[in-house]
């Protein structure tokens, strides 16, 4: 193994098949890092605090108990929102930062491409920068000399070799940075979202290099926001969500799960728009009130996202300010645009009121929610049998119905198609 600088980073010997092993990786960052580093030696000595580490209260959890292994020769994509810990994960794997707890093992030589051209000095020539970058990536001087021509060719900077890097276009600098890393011949290459820079043809050449890598049985772990690239390039992908391993499996599955979460978070953001609370949306005498309405899915979990065709229930929590013998509970659903979809109540469904006093929970169970996908608004009411409202609440909550079978309209019943005569569909 050629030394990559942090040689005391752990390595696995004799385990040919595992290239990277992360075991319960947890990383805290100090919350007030800046202030801390501007702290003074004098005050540290006076307070007796010395060099003690960060206390958990003052830290941000970047990564929590992340475990996985990567087999030698595998290409693994890492996806996740900004701030989900992707870069921290790569830095931990690279040994640039140490885990707060947990372990990292890497077999063989590792190169990390966390930023293209990190380590370039603008004042010195491309030639000298190649040497330094190569050494930083763990190449020996001999290896650099042997691959020098290839590096220069791939980057396409033959004519600028002796010009200082500050005179390079940003595209040239990026190409050179990638070229050096790609030719450093590591066993494990970590790449952090570097394909986002550079032009189309360069990105294409990078991908070709990645393929070459794969064919050579090298291990590649790369972070990308380009989900289609991850699906296309990696057989396997890892999804990090707020520092936790949310999914690890075939890239198509991981990407689908991640996409679903992004979509659901977006819709929740839309649903979170609080319904207006002005008088027009709430009328009634107040003898009884609807305190709370909750939607539950088939498993009884509180939610605002329901799946079409699955069981659902609406749960009303109501309170009678005085004992009542005349009461009706009702639930209404309309589209966001305001078209009525459903209006049902206990009276119409044949429940004769006897007594309602104090607090009560009334549940409307729907065996199959036959609604088309879309956003809906829910009204709930408690009123007298003649319709005089005790508490009538309009647009009390909004929810989303998801459907795998898109349809127009609002009704989406269980259904199937049949054909007779000269008509056939593919199986």
């Amino acid at each position: 193994m050629v030394d990559s600088g942090r040689e005391d980073g752990p390595t696995v010997e004799g385990e040919g098949t595992i290239a990277v092993r992360a075991e319960r990786l947890t990383k805290f960052y100090r919350r007030y890092q800046r202030q801390r580093s501007f702290g003074s030696l004098k005050s540290a000595l006076l307070s007796g605090e010395g060099f003690r580490g960060a206390s958990p209260e003052g830290s941000v959890k970047a990564l929590t108990e992340v475990s996985f292994t990567v087999a030698a020769g595998e290409t693994v994509g890492v996806v996740g929102a900004n701030g989900s810990g992707k870069s921290t994960l790569l830095k931990l794997l690279a040994g640039i930062v140490r885990p707060t707890s947990g372990r990292v093992e890497v077999a063989g030589r590792l190169a990390a491409l966390l930023e293209l051209g990190a380590g370039f000095h603008p004042e010195i020539s491309g030639r000298d920068n190649i040497e330094i970058s190569g050494l930083l990536l763990g190449m020996s001087k001999r290896e650099i000399a042997a691959r020098f021509g290839e590096i220069v060719r791939f980057a396409g900077i033959e004519d600028f070799l002796d010009a200082p890097v500050k005179t390079y276009s940003s595209g040239m600098a990026v190409r050179l940075g990638f070229s050096i890393a790609a030719h450093s011949d590591p066993d494990v290459l970590l790449v952090d979202e570097v394909l986002a820079v550079g032009d189309e043809s360069f990105a294409h050449r990078c991908l070709e290099k990645f393929s070459e890598f794969e064919r050579a049985g090298k291990t590649l772990v790369f972070v990308s926001h380009d989900l289609s690239l991850v699906s296309a390039r990696c057989r396997r992908a890892i999804w990090l969500d707020r520092g936790r391993l949310a999914a690890d499996g075939p890239s198509a599955d991981t990407v689908a799960l991640y996409r679903e979460r992004v979509a659901s978070e977006e819709s929740e953001a839309r649903l979170a728009v609080a319904p207006s609370r002005d008088a027009a949306t709430r009328i009634g005498s107040g003898q009884a009130v609807v305190e709370r309405v909750v939607l539950r899915d088939a498993q009884g979990r509180e939610t605002r996202r329901l799946r079409a065709g699955e069981p659902a229930s609406v749960e009303l929590t109501a309170r009678a300010r005085e004992p009542l013998t005349d009461f009706v509970f009702g639930v209404g659903i309309s589209t966001i645009a305001g078209s009525p979809v459903l209006g049902v109540n206990t009276e119409a469904d044949g429940l004769r009121p006897e007594e309602f006093s104090g607090q009560a929970r009334v549940v409307l169970e729907i065996p199959a929610l036959e609604l088309a996908g879309g956003l809906y608004s829910l009204d709930a009411a408690v009123h007298a049998r003649d319709g005089a409202p005790y508490d009538y609440r309009r647009d009390l909550l909004r929810f989303e119905v998801t459907s795998e079978r898109p349809s127009l309209g609002v009704w989406s019943p269980a259904r199937r198609w049949r054909g007779e005569g000269q008509v056939r569909w593919k199986k």
Binding site: G39, A44, I96, E123, I132
Partner: protein, 264 residues
Amino acid sequence: MFAPIKRTVRQRALVSALTRRELSARYRGGLLGFFWSLVNPLLLLAVYAVVFRFVFAPRAEVRPYALFLFAGVLVWGFVSSALLDAAETFRHNGPLLRKTTVAPEVFPAVAVAARLAHLLLALPVLAGATLYAWGRGSVAPGPAILELPLVLLLLVVAVFGLALAVSALAVHFGDVRDLVANLLTLAFFLTPVLYPVEAVPERFRPWLRANPFAAFLTAIHDTVFFFRSVSVADWLVMGGTAAICLAAGGAVFERLRESIAEEA
């Protein structure tokens, strides 16, 4: 304790490449390039020669004083600039530390190596001036000058040890650089840079001797100015200082090493 030193040795190719980068980036674009590294000491020497020949009358035993002073200032300049550079090196190289797997001990090593290179580049000026003085019969060079490389080696080891400690501490504490700058200013006068130990009254000499760098500067003056062998006592002090600085610096660095990439 010795892990940082071992890593530095293993990364010597990178240290030397970064040192060359440091030097060439500094002189690139200048009309005179590396020649500046000669011009600077030459000017200094010229000023000393004029001032101490025509303005101040130096003590008899340190004549030509310009030469004596020049040797001391060159060496002290190496010590103080290497330590000041070490205090800033992680701040300057933050991106590299955060984005690459470079071993952090490389940077204090580069700070020391670059300043050492400046010192070595100035030695020809000292040699030329000494030859000139020899021609005029004011100095009498002797074989003691052969001891200079070993003195410099021990000095470099001691400075590297201190640089390790200073660089790691400076990452965590913003006031380390100021602290080092002030200590160096003070030490400049408490170390026999401008004067020989013999010029200090007898009763203060033990105090002067308590400063380990007094031995280094005395040894420098012994080898390149008085051309007499370095005393055994000075050899012992220098050897001990180098060993202690290296061990202590290595220990401090190793203790703080993990957090350098995060805090720099």
